[in-house]
Symmetry: C2
Subunit: 345 residues, 2 copies
DNA sequence: TTGTACGCGTTATCAC
DNA sequence: GTGATAACGCGTACAA
């Protein structure tokens, strides 16, 4: 009874047609109405389902784009994956996700696996592979990066406009009246870019940069950095390179009896899903993960056409919530004192 | 220059061997050392990579198990996916994830897609498909469920021991001295099971069940239910069917000026990654997502062998943190008053 | 130990 | 409009 899965041959026999006709019928080719009807009933009766593996073998395309993502646990990566799905869906394609848990070796294996499956393209999120290793691994398969952690080569890439986000965050703090603003920096590429942007923003405002402490992109990393930072005098606000670090900072502040935002304002980065549910709700820079995923998917699928859009910057938006406010003892008398900073547009 | 991908033929020619020999060499068959060496260098020179699609066509297996997951955003689902990966890795297999965003229609499409890719098995997380629709959709492919939302049929399944988790949570509250314990219930299957377990646990302690309010499994759902619940007098503790709902409750409590845990103790369910970073850190029932994923993966792969393990219960653990404590104005004088409740083991 | 030849399920190219 | 039939890239009898 448990015959193996019906093939196109079975359908052909059942419908008294040739496999060629069945194939045409299934793919919207020219078929007589009578034949089409017979084939459709045969398909229904047999429960036939096309074998996409065999199909892929002959067409040379799989309808799959491989996505290698650091891990599934982060809401941001999930959003990016969702964005990729969005545009793939429109084209009747699908994503195949593989995780690399931030290990370059695993990333290589992931790419190998995906290429073995004949994916039509590759979206690499936060890739750490050096340019040459990457080029060898993908060997011709179209690639698009999202927030690449390694150095750039010519591959198309979508990145957050980290600098713009940082500027918005720092300006928000300046506008509130803060003058002594610390920074908790991340050690990955985007963390460093954010740190540099922070330094630039402070310089632009004619201010000394506040203390900067670096750490892992985690709650613990943020907490450890915060311990070192909060010891410093005068700091009335801290800008963190990620929400997870900001959570660590919140903890450290609470332990020291510092009220947020009254004693110290906190601004994060990413706007992870739970940022709004913290206490106080976190002011942060929202990273539009889904949009970034969408953009990346479009880049892979269209990379042959326009060869010259290597890097696409998407704009973040500042989300002001309860963790930031005016300093309780401002060193200057208020926002009015902040002249000279050029107002955009 | 950009010749298409090298095939096994190319390797054979380059190594002056037949494709059969190359195939054997690649799959660990018996090959002379000399031939093996030539083949290996040829593979390296050409950058040959086996075409798993073609391979799957002839072997009849794909080395893939399809996983359909409600969404990627939830840390719990991510943990389950990770668990599945764990056991697949050991066997040199891989997971192919597809999301259904909680829509049964999308779930069906996801299963179709996966079956078209010749997956060797299917792990369905939180499936809502009716038994017959499911049976038709999978059509012979081995299936294992995780926390199935629809009714059971004979398919192997791993579920949390929801009742045990609820019992632990309620006992924790009883031990702390609470007598009037409310419940915020979820409307999905596991939500209802938890509600029933809550009612049973209260009855077992000889207590009237407290007020019960149901809502969506979200922060908003929890908040709305909490608004209704916190109006009731005497409630000194609330057990929530999920952490997300507990967050809503925390918000509602704060808005009403209720201190947690002093005015009201809160216990959640799931132990999502950020539960410990809430303020106060959330006491909750940890759902071992990764273990559940592992168990499910083993079930799919071994389902032909032991046909009679349809439902596997995994035990949750209570994680006590800051959101629960003794009532400020207990109706009884303390834990000592709680006699009669049987102590486990 | 090695090579030949067939088949896996499908699409595409022809004739008809 | 329809039906043979040759690929697609690989595994695996079977023969050598």
């Amino acid at each position: 009874m448990s015959r193996s899965r019906p093939t196109i041959h079975d359908v052909a026999r059942e419908a008294r047609a040739s496999i060629a006709t069945v194939s045409r019928a299934l793919n919207g080719g020219v078929v007589s109405a009578a034949a089409l009807a017979r084939i459709e009933t045969a398909v229904a009766r047999l429960g036939y389902r096309r074998n996409d593996v065999a199909r892929g073998l002959v067409t040379g395309r799989s309808g799959l784009v491989g996505v290698v993502v650091p891990d599934l646990m982060g809401p941001l990566y999930a959003q990016m994956a969702r964005g990729i799905e969005d545009v793939l869906d429109e084209r009747g394609m699908h994503a195949m996700l593989v995780t690399d848990h931030l290990e370059p070796a695993a990333e290589r294996r992931a790419i190998e696996l995906l290429r073995g499956r004949q994916v039509d393209g590759l979206v690499l999120i936060g890739s750490r592979l050096p340019a040459d290793a990457l080029r060898a691994a993908v060997a011709g398969t179209p690639v698009a990066h999202v927030q690449r952690d390694g150095p750039d080569d010519g591959d198309p890439q979508v990145r957050l406009d980290d600098a713009a986000g940082v500027r918005a965050a720092v300006r928000h703090l300046l506008d509130a009246g803060h003058r002594r603003i610390g920074h908790i920096a991340g050690t990955r590429r985007d963390g460093l870019e954010r740190r540099d942007a922070y330094l630039a923003a402070m310089a632009e405002a004619g201010l000394e940069p506040g203390p900067v402490e670096a750490g892992e992109f985690t709650e613990e990393g943020g907490e450890a950095a915060a311990e070192r930072l909060l010891g410093q005098r005068d700091v009335t606000a801290v800008f963190c390179a990620s929400d997870r670090m900001a959570v660590g900072l919140l903890h450290a502040a609470r332990r020291r009896g510092l009220a947020v935002p009254d004693d110290v304002s906190v601004v994060g980065f990413d706007d992870l899903t739970w940022a709004r549910y913290l206490h106080p709700p976190l002011t942060t820079v929202r990273q539009p993960g889904r949009d970034m995923g969408r953009a990346a998917a479009r880049l892979v699928l269209e990379s042959p056409f326009d060869a010259a859009v290597p890097i696409l910057r998407v704009a973040p938006t500042l989300v002001v919530r309860g963790s930031s406010g005016p300093p309780s003892d401002p060193h200057v008398t208020g926002p009015a004192a902040r002249a000279g900073a050029p107002s955009r547009r």
